[in-house]
């Protein structure tokens, strides 16, 4: 997760931070930020929109030791040693791993054995760029002064507001220095180049003093705020800029093509996984997309890189040409944009208690987490809840069969379960207990972060913090929550269904035999394992029996998590199904499961079917997922779909893909993201068919499951991947 350029690493931030180590976190970060902004040499980037920023892994989000490992190879070894030493000193107070010291034995075990985890991650955050562009830096300054008057005389608040002033000054200084740099570059250049540099210099100077007026100025300020937010998430990009864009176009200030050139100027500088939201709603619920939305999709297709992580908010008012541009972009194989359904997400936020004026203005952050831009601290990505481990605890009386440690309450020996409902009761108790541990563990991590981290810039720019006179980790934001992802729900559900069929309905296997197979990792029982894998009902095939169990598992886990609150701002615990890469390490911690999964194999990688378990095609997958109570997973329940390139080959094909996604959203779907299958995946499918059972390929007018083809034909398909 390297962000920004690691080249030209300087230690201004680090040195200032160490010098201020005894100050409160907010102040020491603000001082460090200012030192960095005033002194770091500028690496010039951009022909129309300038601005670079070196990412400081320890100052905001990531654990401290990352950065030392990420230094460029050609760094002087002596410098590396000095640098690492400084990082180590900072890490003592700023590295997220300090949270482990606060866990009790049960929490430490639950974390270590993969029942519930904190990632020690400070969360993705976005700004409300629309508001910030409207008020500009002077408006932010006024907000600081107004709020400091309210809190005049309050204990410790002087330091807080001093930190805010220094932080704003850091932003101003960094922009001002780019303006000066541009002037110098203009002086030594000529012609068009000189004109461009002078324009950049003017724009930068203007936005340090006034709110932006033109599209170029607005984009320039947004870009500076974005990069100083460590290139995190953009929030609603088109929503923030469209007023300036439409006005400049109407006034003839810029052409559509000139705007595209400005966007293309920043596009290659956007590091991987940076989230950008487009589309969505106006405050009255009507669709908010404009020609700028379309232009962004066109730029995305033209630049054809997998970043930013573009997210398109759709609703029933989303125009056809936006849909078509989005589907064309998806078909280019950059897995962008992911599609979101306003009509499910906005009500899910209202249900939580978010005001309607903020709910319609949601954006995505990080991978796919729903946030209220610039108004919340949702500690995105902090937690992982392993439902498959809960299932194991239900089968083993609360003892983790992999580590032998007790991680849950005693719920009875499985042989004593007379009916499937007895097993359900045990699972529910384990899930409830795990949800409580999850909350406690995440809450402790959250409180600890608040003691050591300030997040000065995010505090400055997040609504609520100034007026409350509190940092963003201190409950200052308007909305507070901890978002906790849930993994392995599909595996738990498929396993429960397998036990139901094998042990209780069909009576083809005793509980004792089943437990034996799990304990021996299905050794010597390959037919039984294959039968579980290939012949028992699985979630994702529009099979009502399997889907009912998945619905139940999702509901109880999501409701149990939601029944708790976090201490920060008495905020919500918001569950979700955003699974980045943890399905692999947590799979390693999970033993063999009755769904035919071997011990240690990865868990499901999304809220959709487990890998390779879907055999009825995408309409069945989306029907199954739409049966889940998705509104409870208000963080976002992600669904991955895979298609060959030919599925997007022409207008007719793309129209059918568009209608597939639209149908899902009509059924109450939440999110869907599409990968276009490439050759590597086909090769992997040949080696590991069990992981790719649902992968269908189409050659010459005939389609077949890849795994059903003979080896020779598979080779043939691989050699002609472009026609899949």
């Amino acid at each position: 997760m390297v962000r920004g350029s690691m080249a030209n690493y300087t230690t201004y931030y680090l040195d200032a931070y160490l010098e201020a180590i005894n100050d409160p976190p907010m102040l020491r970060e603000a001082k460090a930020l200012l030192a960095k902004a005033r002194n770091t040499p500028i690496t010039w980037q951009g022909s129309y929109i300038t601005g670079c920023w070196t990412y400081e892994p320890f100052d905001f989000t990531y654990a401290g030791t990352h950065c030392a490992n990420d230094l460029p190879d050609d760094t002087d070894p002596e410098e590396v040693t000095i640098y690492k030493d400084k990082v180590a000193q900072v890490s003592k107070v700023a590295n997220g791993s300090f949270i482990f010291a606060t866990f009790n034995d049960l929490e430490r075990d639950a974390h270590a054995e993969g029942l519930v985890r904190s990632t020690c991650f400070g969360g993705h955050m976005t700004f409300d760029h629309r508001r910030l562009l409207k008020i500009g830096l002077p408006g932010i300054e006024s907000e600081i002064e107004a709020a400091s008057l309210i809190h005049a005389g309050d204990l410790g608040k002087d330091t807080f507001f001093d930190a805010m002033r220094l932080t704003l000054e850091a932003v101003r200084a960094w922009i001002r220095r780019h303006s000066e740099e541009a002037e110098q570059l203009a002086a030594v250049s000529s012609g068009d180049e000189r004109d461009r540099m002078l324009r950049i210099a003017q724009n930068c100077r203007f936005i340090t003093e006034q709110p932006p007026r033109t599209f170029a100025q607005a984009l320039q300020l947004l870009w500076f705020l974005h990069i100083m937010n460590d290139y995190d998430s953009f929030g609603r990009f088109d929503w923030a800029l469209q007023e300036y864009y439409l006005k400049d176009i109407a006034d003839g200030e810029i052409s559509r093509e000139e705007a595209a050139v400005m966007l293309e100027d920043i596009w290659p500088r956007i590091p991987p996984i940076e989230n950008m939201t487009i589309g969505g709603m106006n405050s009255d619920g009507s669709d908010s997309s404009t020609d700028l939305t379309l232009l962004i999709l066109e730029v995305m297709a033209r630049v054809c890189r997998p970043s930013p992580n573009l997210c398109l908010r759709t609703n029933s008012g989303t125009p056809g040409q936006i849909w078509d541009a989005a589907v064309r972009c998806i078909g280019m194989g950059v897995a962008n944009p992911a599609l979101y359904n306003d009509e499910l997400i906005v009500p899910s936020l209202l249900e939580l208690g978010i005001e309607s004026a903020d709910a319609w203005d949601y954006s995505l952050a990080g991978c796919s987490q729903v946030v209220i831009p610039g108004r919340c601290n949702f500690a995105c990505d902090d937690g992982i809840f392993n439902a498959a481990k809960c299932f194991e605890l239900a089968l083993y009386d609360g003892i983790d069969p992999v580590s032998g440690k007790r991680l849950g309450p005693p719920t009875g020996a499985p042989e004593s379960f007379e009916t499937f409902d007895d097993l359900r009761v045990a699972f529910h108790k384990q899930a409830a207990s795990a949800a409580k541990i999850y909350r406690d563990l995440l809450d402790k991590a959250d409180i600890e972060r608040g003691r050591f981290w300030g997040y000065a810039l995010r505090t400055l720019l997040t609504s609520g913090c100034l007026i409350n006179g509190k940092g963003i980790w201190d409950g200052g934001a308007k909305y507070n929550a901890i978002q906790g992802e849930c993994i392995g729900i599909t595996n738990a559900a498929d396993s429960l269904t397998a036990v139901k069929k094998l042990v209780y309905d069909d009576c083809t296997m005793s509980m004792v035999d089943l437990l034996h197979h799990l304990e021996t990792n299905w050794e010597g029982a390959e037919p039984a394992r294959m039968r579980s894998l290939a012949r028992l009902p699985k979630f994702g095939n529009d099979d009502d029996e399997a889907d009912e169990v998945a619905e139940w598992v999702s509901r109880i886990i999501w409701e149990e998590i939601r029944s708790h609150h976090c201490s920060r701002g008495n905020g919500w615990m918001i569950p979700g199904g955003v699974i980045f890469v943890v399905h692999v390490p947590l799979g390693e911690k999970t033993g063999a499961t009755p769904d035919g999964r071997r011990a240690g194999e990865p868990l499901a990688d999304s809220s959709g079917p487990a890998q390779g378990r879907d055999r009825k095609g995408p309409t069945a997958v989306l029907r199954s997922v739409s049966k889940l109570p998705l509104h409870l997973a208000a963080t976002c329940a992600v669904v991955n779909l895979k298609f060959g390139r030919k599925s997007f080959g022409d207008d007719i094909a793309r129209g059918k893909m568009r209608d597939l996604f639209k149908s899902y959203f009509k059924m109450g779907g939440m999110q869907v993201q599409v990968t276009v299958v490439d050759k590597d995946e086909l090769i992997d499918a040949q080696l590991h068919p069990e992981n790719h059972r649902g992968l269908s390929v189409r050659v010459g007018g005939y389609s077949s499951y890849f795994s059903d083809l003979s080896r020779e034909l598979q080779d043939d398909v691989i050699s002609r991947t472009e026609s899949v």
């Binding site: 390959e526 037919p527 039984a528 394992r529 294959m530 039968r531 290939a534 012949r535 529009d542 009825k616 095609g617 995408p618 309409t619 069945a620 029907r623 599925s647 094909a653 129209g655 059918k656 209608d659 597939l660 639209k662 149908s663 009509k666 059924m667 189409r698 050659v699 010459g700 007018g701 005939y702 389609s703 077949s704 795994s707 059903d708 083809l709 003979s710 080896r711 020779e712 034909l713 043939d716 398909v717 026609s723």
Partner: protein
């Protein structure tokens, strides 16, 4: 009344407009040398063995009462097999499959209606294919009637080798025909498809005159029907029809070949039609003023 169905494919996006479900029905009057759905030809259920999926557990042998699997599934003795399907039922990895499931029209409708929202959103519907749907005429008629009651857009893929009366009755419940047209030359048709084509061409003329929407589907098989004379003959025939229906070229691919082996059937064609060839034929047809899909 039951039909014999060998597959119901959801998210079928190449068999008519919108998102569709295709119902594949068993039994075909033709014997095309290149058939890529060999499991569709027989009117009876069949056992298919996919050797590469067999894990050698031998469970199939233990449930087989006729001794057809005495030497293991790879060496199934089809003369002894009574197609009871017990081996397919017990096979843990679907290495043995029973091809052909007896279903009522209501059961088929229940399955296809699961995707109703997709049809509605995309202007899709249900396609009957096969095999030859008219081979199970009574069932197809009943099924189409049920689908029409649900207001669905129906398509039928047919080879046209049936009585006009039956085709006409089906046409009244069908929004679009995907009409397979292999060759115009009667001798060639007899040689490669095992039947005379006068009925097929006659039905095509009548169907076009009847006013049905038709897309003619032409499989392009190297060495069989891809000569300039064959192509021009097909084009001339289609152009001569009222309303000049569309033509869709289906590039041949040997992807169906593994299925012959699975069914214990012989496959004699060896060539593959390269896309370039199909493209050049498309170009020629367009020059003749045809609309080619």
């Amino acid at each position: 009344m039951n039909g014999l169905i060998f597959d119901i494919q959801r998210f079928s996006i190449h068999d008519g407009p919108g998102i569709r479900t295709t119902v594949f029905m068993k039994g075909c009057p033709l014997r095309c040398a290149w058939c890529h759905n060999p499991e569709s030809i027989s009117d009876e259920p069949q056992i298919a063995v996919y050797r590469h999926k067999c894990i050698g557990c031998g469970e199939c042998r233990s449930v087989c009462s006729t001794g057809a699997l005495a030497d293991g599934p790879e060496f199934i003795d089809r003369s002894k097999c009574r197609t009871c399907g017990k081996c397919a039922e017990i096979c843990p990895n679907e290495a043995i499959k029973l091809i052909g499931l007896s279903m009522t029209a209501a059961e088929v409708v229940d399955t296809v209606m699961r995707d109703a929202i997709y049809y509605e959103t995309s202007g899709g519907g249900v396609t009957l294919s096969g095999g030859e749907p008219l081979r199970q005429y009574e069932f197809s008629l009943a099924l189409l009637g049920e689908l029409k009651k649900h207001g669905l857009y129906t398509a039928v893929e047919t080879c046209g080798a049936c009585s006009w009366e039956k085709l006409e009755a089906i046409a009244n419940l069908t929004d679009l025909f995907l009409y397979d047209l292999k060759m115009i030359d009667p001798a060639g048709h007899l040689r490669f498809c095992g039947a005379d084509n006068s009925l097929i061409l006659d039905n095509a003329r009548r169907l076009a005159a009847h006013g049905s929407d038709i897309i003619f589907r032409v499989p392009v098989i190297p060495g069989c029907n891809d000569s300039p004379n064959d192509i021009i003959a097909i084009a001339d025939f289609i152009i001569s029809l009222p309303n000049t229906p569309l033509i869709e070229l289906m590039p041949y691919h040997r992807i169906g070949r593994g299925k012959y082996e699975a069914l214990g059937m012989r496959f004699d064609l060896t060539e593959t039609c390269e896309p370039e060839n199909v493209d050049s034929i498309k170009e020629r047809l367009r020059e003749m003023g045809m609309e080619v899909i």
